[in-house]
């Protein structure tokens, strides 16, 4: 903890890093929100031309710290020293004007405007009162060319992939002449190849002297680009070390405050023989076709495949959230006629969406109301009036059962961390007594400790005879948790594999459409 002791007036005196080398220095930053101490005396420094990773579980304070650096929040205490001058940012524009740019996890582009217009939004080159469209285009094209990406600056952002949007955001930061670039989970929705390209861009930026703050849950990929790493836990600074001098296990241990022997819990459940859910000939024109599989009682079935291969779409169609053109769904031998999520829920299906905030939670509402939302009949009388005592009892039961960390059951869920939010959604479906649960990317953006807890819950559900479908882009997760895997390729199931007898390469081969290997025995 090299920075913690600095309390002097001049930023460079007690600080171990040589003066002048520091691009950004945060001195004992604290931030309090109503009822929450998000940060307590956290110090952090960033040098020119380095990539400094910030790690920590959800709720550790990473995002809050970055929002303070980028001027979204003002710190309750502490100083921000940028290029040797103490600064107070009253808005993100202040920080941006000085060359501190942030690329948020949820990208902030205007879909209807073109790439060029987005890059120069609110800073359009002008001729008199009019936008100089020619300069706009050439400048934007130059920024994109510097990144080595081939995106037409006239295209509307609407049609771009997530990776392309990210490149546009980076181009925007470059156009600001940003000297500090903060990247929040930049690779969370990128493919392997796109990640490679991003890393190359990061290397180039480094060489140009830009200081990069890199926030990610994917510790495995950090080795390639990260120079130093700072670990936060519960709003406190735990350690800052050279990345080369530490290991991923050590970082994880610091993040969770204990060492994790294993990433996945041991499976206690064994699938029973009989078929619980049977899907046949499911199709939706242009999206997926001829999808069929069986889910056994107590089984965890994986849905693997590349993004856009139809995994999520199939699950949503079974659940009645999206339309389908053909196919039958049979639960315990009874054919279901599902036309809306209500029908599916009544039949005993549950779908945990991949986007918690947009689709899973009523974020302004408290924990208890979210927990009971899918099963209000169970906490209300025949006049449709809610029994609050019963509702509170239910909420408390699942908060305890799932070990949800919340001050009270009346806390609005938007104030909870991602892992706890996910557990609330799980609690909602458990209370509904669902017999089949579709988990769509349940651990995306969730910290290591909470991931383990969610895996264990999945295993326990399966042990009780519930059928679980795990949709995931993370192959280790698929291999670690499932009994069998359906591998999707371009809207079809390319193969259904026994997890115990397959590996990452084989799944990838099916996922990319190469089909079965030349006999692997």
């Amino acid at each position: 903890m090299p920075d913690g002791a600095s309390a002097g007036l001049r930023p460079d005196l007690p600080h171990p890093v040589r003066a002048g080398e520091d691009l950004l220095f945060l001195d004992a930053i604290s931030k309090e929100f109503p009822g929450v101490r998000a940060l307590q005396g956290v110090s952090f420094d960033l040098r020119r031309g380095e990539v400094h990773a910030v790690c920590g579980e959800n709720g550790a304070g990473k995002s809050t710290l970055m929002k303070i650096v980028s001027g979204v929040f003002a710190p309750t205490a502490g100083r921000i020293v940028y290029k040797g001058v103490e600064r107070r940012f009253s808005s993100p524009l202040d920080a941006e004007a000085l060359g501190i740019a942030i690329i948020h996890q949820e990208l902030n582009l205007v879909p209807h405007l073109s790439v060029a217009e987005n890059i120069y939004l609110a800073r359009e080159p002008r001729r008199g009162f009019l936008v100089d469209r020619k300069a706009l285009r050439t400048n934007a094209a130059a920024c994109l060319a510097r990144l080595g990406v081939a995106i037409d600056p006239d295209r509307p952002v609407r049609g771009l992939s997530v990776a392309q949007c990210q490149m546009v955001e980076i181009a925007k930061a470059l156009s600001l002449n940003a000297e500090v670039l903060i990247m929040d989970e930049p690779t969370s929705s990128l493919t392997e190849q796109e990640t490679r390209r991003l890393f190359k861009v990061i290397h180039d930026l480094k060489a140009a002297g830009v200081g990069i703050v890199y926030i990610s849950h994917r510790l495995d990929e950090m080795a390639e680009i990260v120079d130093r790493v700072t670990v936060l836990r519960d709003g406190h600074h735990v350690a800052t070390t050279d990345f080369a001098a530490t290991t991923v296990d050590e970082i994880v241990a610091r993040m969770v405050g204990r060492s994790l022997e294993e990433k996945f819990p041991e499976r206690t459940s064994r699938p029973a023989g009989d078929c619980l859910l049977k899907v046949e000939g499911l199709a939706r024109s242009g999206v997926f076709a001829d999808v069929g599989f069986e889910l056994r009682r107590g089984e965890i079935l994986g849905f693997a495949g590349l993004m856009g291969s139809g995994r999520t779409e199939v699950a949503r169609a079974i659940f009645g959230a999206d339309p389908r053109d053909a196919g039958t769904v049979t639960l315990e031998g009874r054919r279901l006629d599902i036309r809306s999520p209500r029908d599916a829920i009544a039949a005993g299906l549950a779908y945990l969406s991949e986007d918690r905030k947009a689709q899973g939670l009523a974020i302004k509402m408290p924990v208890d109301a979210n927990m009971t939302l899918a099963n209000m009949e169970a906490v209300s009388n025949r006049f449709g009036l809610i029994d609050f005592a019963r509702e509170a009892e239910v909420a408390r039961r699942y908060v305890d059962l799932l070990n949800i960390r919340t001050p009270t059951i009346h806390q609005p869920v938007r104030l909870l961390s991602g892992g706890n939010q996910q557990k609330i959604i799980i609690g909602k479906w458990l209370f509904r007594k669902s017999r089949v649960l579709f988990f769509d990317e349940p651990t995306r953006g969730i910290d290591v400790g909470a991931k383990f807890a969610i895996y264990r819950i999945m295993d326990e559900l399966a042990a009780e005879g519930i059928g679980v479908v795990l949709i995931s882009s993370e192959l280790p997760e698929i291999l670690g948790m499932t009994d069998r895997v359906c591998v999707f390729h371009q809207g079809r199931i390319a193969g259904i594999l026994e997890t115990a007898r397959t590996d990452q390469e084989e799944i990838m081969r099916y996922a990319s459409g190469y089909g079965p290997a030349h006999s692997r025995h």
Binding site: S90, R342, A346, A362, A374, L385
Partner: protein, 349 residues
Amino acid sequence: MTMTDPPARPPAEPAIAPRRGLTDRQKDILQKFAALGSLLVLILVFSLTSGAFFTVSNGMTIALQVTSIALLGIGATCVIITGGIDLSVGSVLALSGVVAALGVKELGMPVPVGMALGILTGAACGLLNGLVVTVMRLPPFIATLGMMLIARGVALQITGARAVSGLGESFGELGNGALFRMVTIGDDGFPNVAFPGIPYPVILMAAIALAVSLMLNRSVLGRHIYAVGSNVEAARLSGVNVRRVVCFTYVLSGTLAGLTGCVLMSRLVTAQPNEGVMYELDAIASAVIGGTSLIGGVGTISGTAIGAFVIGILRNGLNMNGVSAFTQQIIIGLVILLTVWIDQLRNRR
């Protein structure tokens, strides 16, 4: 409660650093007191400036005047909580009142039947609004803007743009009657009003406010209304029948507009097809002053009731002080801006 305290509080607060230790619930109560406090300040100021203001009979007058804003505001609150808006209530009110009056006068219906027909007309307009929003998927603003023009047009058409009068005394009972009215015949033979009574519309308003408040806070339907406004996709994926919930709020709003129309026309004992112009804006304003968020998901009936009284008392008090109708508009406009700004400050981080 001190009179000067609440309105002075929020603007003094720096925008960036939030006050520490306040839970959302406490902030909610504080907001309530801020609105209630400004209401009390208004009453105090008007009582001092005008002798006739703080009297029982003026109190009843205000309550009577507030009923239409409050009834419409209650409907508006439910619609706005789901993230919608209802611009049609002013016109629907006129159409309903006119239908009730024509039913009584032209078709010879008994007054209760005619009024029921009027209220049903309002409900039907609301249902149409709801279907246009949920089935045709038009934005609520457009859907209800269309209904605003259509309902007004129909009201003018079926009356030939003339007021319907000669409705008979019983038509005026709902709007002019009162419960517990005490009249004594004085020595001079003229009646003395000992207590003006509680007007029926006021009783109606209180009962409906209580019922809708109960519905929003304690019923499954109310929970679904908030859930739809907070996150429509999450609500749908949790099995909430979003269409039905949204439709219900528009039907409620239309029904209350129909009722308001009957009450208003009954008070005048004349049905005016031009009644209620711009009332939808009063309704929305009362909801917004009471803390309802136009983004959806947030709002209470108690807040809206306070909002309705703020508008009503401002009008009444300014009238008594001889402030012109034009100046009144300016003042009420400023009050709306101020209260919503305070609300924004409260929610800012």
